[in-house]
């Protein structure tokens, strides 16, 4: 009985909200003007990585930020505001991105962010746009061949990311070391200050492209579906982004960008909805 009452109440509120929207009134439900705000402002502010090769990376050669995620955002700006130059990029890292989104600094996060149950409590996610999995990057001559070889070894990752905890649950003997960002972690690996670096293979692939003295080992030991992060309740914007992603996947734009950055065709079985699957959790 109570359930029905609640449902009825929700339905009534939804109707009221729709009515308000219809008449142009400013009812409480109409608070979600996330998409309108962006269109009025004529500028889309996206939080992206500046240090992650292939996804979001500031090229010191020309000061431009480049990558798969950057191109996705440019395409989004183009379709939403008619011009990709109406995109403004803000640098985020694993530790800062959710705080910047909820603080209103950015409209959305497109920064190698895994859809997880925990993060779902803090932000809303779009559909999956990339499927990664956690792996290990080691020097070519490293004795580390599998995840369990990291026992007693120093393994670097970035602050705020879940990678450290994931590795710990597969191999509790690994010594996790947190760096400010992946660029720092990679520099530490190159300097020989750590034995391996762990994070999503997508990020590791980018590092390997930069420096062929390193290789990926250990396979994928987690499932890391990337989604675009949006402020909780920004339903209009989320619907728009979902539709946008479906659209570019359907019209081949997605495949073109995927090929440009990862030098291979996108997987055919990319799920719409997925959530992080990690060992032991």
């Amino acid at each position: 009985m109570r359930k029905w009452c609640t449902l009825l109440l929700i339905a009534a509120m939804a109707l009221f909200g729709a009515a308000c929207n219809g008449t142009g009134g400013g009812g409480k439900i109409a608070d979600d003007n996330s998409l309108e705000q962006i269109k009025q402002r004529g500028k889309l502010v996206a939080g992206v990585k500046y240090d992650t090769h292939l996804f979001g990376y500031k090229d010191p050669a020309d000061g431009q930020v480049k990558g798969f995620e950057i191109d996705l955002m440019k395409e989004l700006a183009k379709r939403m505001l008619g011009d990709e130059s109406k995109l403004e990029l803000k640098e985020v890292n694993s530790k800062t991105r959710i705080k910047l989104l909820n603080g209103g600094d950015i409209d959305l996060i497109c920064a190698t962010m895994t859809i997880s149950e925990k993060r779902k409590k803090e932000v809303d996610f779009s559909r999956v746009y990339f499927m990664a999995g956690q792996s290990l990057l080691v020097p070519n001559n490293s004795p580390i061949k599998t995840v369990h070889d990291t026992k007693g070894k120093k393994v670097a990752t970035a602050k705020g990311a879940t990678s450290g905890n994931n590795l710990k649950s597969v191999e509790p003997g690994a010594q996790i070391q947190l760096y400010e960002n992946y660029a720092d972690a990679f520099t530490a690996l190159r300097a020989g200050q750590v034995d391996a670096l762990t994070t999503d293979d997508s990020i590791l692939m980018g590092m390997q492209q930069q420096d062929p003295n390193f290789k990926l080992v250990g396979g994928q030991f987690t499932k890391e579906p990337y989604g675009i992060g949006l402020k909780k309740g920004a339903n209009e914007l989320r619907a728009y982004v979902d539709q946008f992603l479906d659209q570019i996947i359907a019209d081949g734009t997605y495949a073109k960008l995927y090929m440009k950055w990862f030098k291979q065709a996108p997987p055919q079985d990319l799920p719409r909805q997925a959530v992080q699957a990690s060992p032991g959790k």
Binding site: D51, K58, P60, E91, D184, T187, A191
Partner: protein, 217 residues
């Protein structure tokens, strides 16, 4: 050792952009902590109950904390409380919170160094307490505060590099962006960036020494 970045306009531009952010943050932080520091130091000097105690509590707490903690706090905690601040502003606030406590101590030290007899004389000749403070004590004290104040600001300028930990795009962070791409430039870039800080800070210290001499002579 790859010093080739010295001839690459693109990299030098990245570093210059970083330097400008460093200078911007430092300049505003210096300005605000100078103002706040004078207020704090004067409050502590005047021994007005409650106010001077609050100032003392503030100074003693803040100067006994690591600046990095205050920078993290100013960035992550403020965000958690729902305060929307651009990263540059949050760093300026953190630097000001920290430095104003130290400047406050310098100001109090300067005020204390002014001969008490002068104050009594000024009061006896009919000046109010505030007038005495403003016309007699402060001008003399300010002169003595210059050297420690400048060295505090030199510290501030180099400490802006701590904001590398929250990815403020200042000089140090931009150097990191470059060397994460060109690994062979890591050590040369660290040397170069250190030299840039050195040149700025050393010139500042030398200028302050000249000023000191001038005022003394």
């Amino acid at each position: 050792m790859d010093f080739s970045f010295l001839t690459r306009a693109d990299i030098m531009k990245t570093l210059l952009d970083g330097l400008l952010v460093t200078l911007e943050v430092a300049l505003f932080s210096i300005l605000f902590s100078f103002i706040c520091g004078i207020v704090l130091g004067t409050l502590r000097y005047t021994k007005i109950p409650v106010l001077s105690h609050l100032a003392a509590l503030y100074i003693e707490t803040v100067r006994n904390l690591p600046l990095l903690l205050i920078i993290f706090f100013g960035f992550f905690a403020f965000k958690e409380w729902g305060w929307e601040l651009p990263i540059t502003i949050s760093v300026i606030i953190s630097m000001t919170i920290f430095t104003s406590a130290l400047v406050g101590e310098i100001v109090r030290g300067g005020l204390n160094s002014v001969d008490k007899g002068q104050i009594e004389a000024a009061r006896a000749s009919g000046l109010t307490y505030v007038q005495t403070l403003w016309h007699i004590v402060l001008p003399q004290a300010l002169r003595r505060m210059i050297p420690p104040m400048v060295s505090q600001f030199v510290s501030l300028l180099k400490d802006t590099s701590l904001a590398v930990a929250i990815s403020l795009p200042e000089l140090m962070h931009n150097a990191q962006i470059v060397y994460s791409r060109y690994y062979n430039m890591t050590v040369p870039l660290l040397i170069f960036v250190s030299l840039v800080y050195f040149v700025i800070n050393y010139s500042l210290s030398q200028a302050s020494r000249q000023l000191e001499k001038k005022l003394a002579g």
